[in-house]
Amino acid sequence: MFTPAEMEALLLSIKVALWATVVSLPIAIAAAYGMARNQFPGKMIVEALIHIPLVVPPVVVGYLLLVTLAPSTSFGAWLQTIGLNPAFKWQGAAIASGLMALPLMIRSMRLSFEAEPHVYREVAATLGASAFKRFWRISLPLALPGILSGTALGFARAIGEFGATITFAANIPGVTQTLPLALYSAAQTPGGELVAARLALLCLFPAVFSLIASEWLARKARNRRGFG
């Protein structure tokens, strides 16, 4: 049905987006929880920094990654010597798309943490539960629907990531050429219209699947406790 090249791009896209989401998930949860629960000086600045990938053109994010991590920079050169430089590798694509997905994930999770009535964690404290236990057994499970939808949103965003990826990881078929990048190349090639259309169709699958899966899981979590 699909050519090996198309399947390669699809599988690479899924691999990149999965890694981007899995690595971003704990960071997003920690940031969302920290922002929802704490008041600290400079919170506004941290909030603005978190939202940068949402408001600047993705190319700028890719460019910033490039000027800090490219092998031509001193930090990039050092990373290169220990074999961990992500530029122009699939790991680079994962970093770029993870960074772009992060603010979306944090926003959705933070709303969930903020929506939790404080009575549960207060009572849990009087019952003798430590701060970690209150987070792990109360706040985290109660925020689960928001965490799931945030994760799905992040995954979909990572699958669709284009600008930051092409700038930082480049467009190397079989290495960093994810579905959107392959679609872009096909559209640039004379006579590539059909291939472009097939790739566009292919882009829908992982994104739609992740949204449906998260909605289903979130509904299950809500039904168990009797609302929604």
Partner: protein
């Protein structure tokens, strides 16, 4: 039996300031006052959920807060079971998981608490399938299971129908007796205090007004004023000594007092409410009358209250206090004045029984 529990705090958060200082005795202590009196604020300070400005809190001989020594234990180290007014069962856990959440008592002990509270059958249920009364009882069992040394219940009868309210009051009293854990019961209802508490702490506008034995707090004139409480009357305790011809014989201190027999066992202590309007006065024992209780009394004081006269009496044999309400006409015809000796007439069936503590 538990060690000393003393509360002494001042607070000043945002728009509310206040202070309270009292020793907490074993048994049920009602923290009573109108809404906005600072009852919940005080409860949260004791539980460690909010920080007092100054003071000293000692639970079972352990200092949990002291502003001078900068001691401030976290709520999780205070061993205070706090059951707030709003639903607090964790919605994503079954009843059993809620109770197990932080159980520090043995499983047998927890099972006993659950059985006493009548919630054993609810264990597999999820909180959203429970009634308000069931959820409150489970929250109380959960607090007990966590090994609390003090139980704070914030308006546990709120929103319950009269039958469940009565059952809840009985359960609270039974729990306090069976476990020996002191209970601080927050309420704005005189009725709830009368039916559960041994001691009372009256608060108004962030200040502690009076505290002590429930009967004494009930008799204090401030209580009637602050609680807008018109049903003047006295609360007395009697001991069941026997029964005769369908009538219960009890002792009010050393005075024989008759009550309708409702199968209270001999040796039981009853708490009675004698409303001032149910007490009549006579100059001498009237012949041929159905009223069983005819107690020689001395007038302590008399004052006009509402549309009639309020007379404070002391039972001659033992000085126990009685209150009586009569019309101006009767008052003047009898020529009542302090020091005068009278017979107080109390219909046995007019006496309201608040609670029964059976022996053992």
């Amino acid at each position: 039996m538990t060690g000393e529990t003393s509360i002494n705090v001042q607070w000043d958060n945002e728009d509310r300031t206040g202070e309270a200082s009292f020793l907490l005795a074993d048994g049920v202590t009602a923290l009573i006052g109108p809404s906005g009196a600072g009852k919940t604020t005080l409860a949260r300070l004791i539980a460690g959920l909010d920080l007092p400005n100054a003071g000293h809190i000692e639970i079972d001989c352990q200092t949990v807060f002291d502003s001078a020594k900068t001691t401030n234990l976290k709520p999780e180290s205070r061993y205070i079971g706090y059951v707030p007014q709003e639903p607090s069962l964790f919605p994503h856990m079954s009843v059993a998981a809620n109770i197990r959440f932080s159980a520090r008592c043995s499983p047998d002990q927890v099972g006993q608490y659950a059985q006493d509270a009548g919630i054993s059958d609810l264990m597999p249920r999820m909180p959203h399938t429970l009634s308000g009364g069931e959820a409150r009882r489970i929250a109380i069992v959960r607090a007990l299971a966590s090994g609390s040394k003090l139980l704070i219940l914030d308006e546990p009868m709120n929103g319950l129908d009269p039958k469940r309210r009565k059952a809840m009051m009985a359960m609270i009293r039974k729990t306090a007796r069976a476990t020996g854990i002191p209970v601080l019961l927050i309420t704005h209802q005189i009725e709830e205090m009368l039916n559960t508490a041994d001691y009372a702490v009256l608060m108004d506008k962030g200040r502690l007004v009076t505290h002590g034995r429930m009967e004494d707090v009930m008799a204090a004139p401030e209580t009637a004023k602050i609680m807008h409480y018109d049903d003047a009357g006295s609360v007395v305790e009697v001991l069941v000594t026997g029964r005769n011809e369908g009538v219960l014989e009890t002792k009010l201190r050393n005075t024989l007092f008759y009550l309708p027999d409702e199968n209270e066992p001999e040796g039981a202590r009853l708490r009675l409410r004698i409303l001032a309007q149910d007490v009549a006065l006579a100059l001498s024992p009237p012949p041929g009358i159905s009223i069983l209780n005819q107690l020689p009394c001395t007038v302590i004081s008399a004052s006009r209250r509402g549309s009639g006269q309020h007379v404070e009496l002391a039972i001659e044999e033992n000085g126990a206090s009685l209150q009586c309400r009569i019309t101006d006409k009767s008052f003047h015809e009898l020529g009542i004045k302090p020091g005068m000796k009278l017979i107080a007439l109390i219909k046995a069936v007019a006496v309201r029984e608040l609670l029964t503590d059976t022996p053992g």
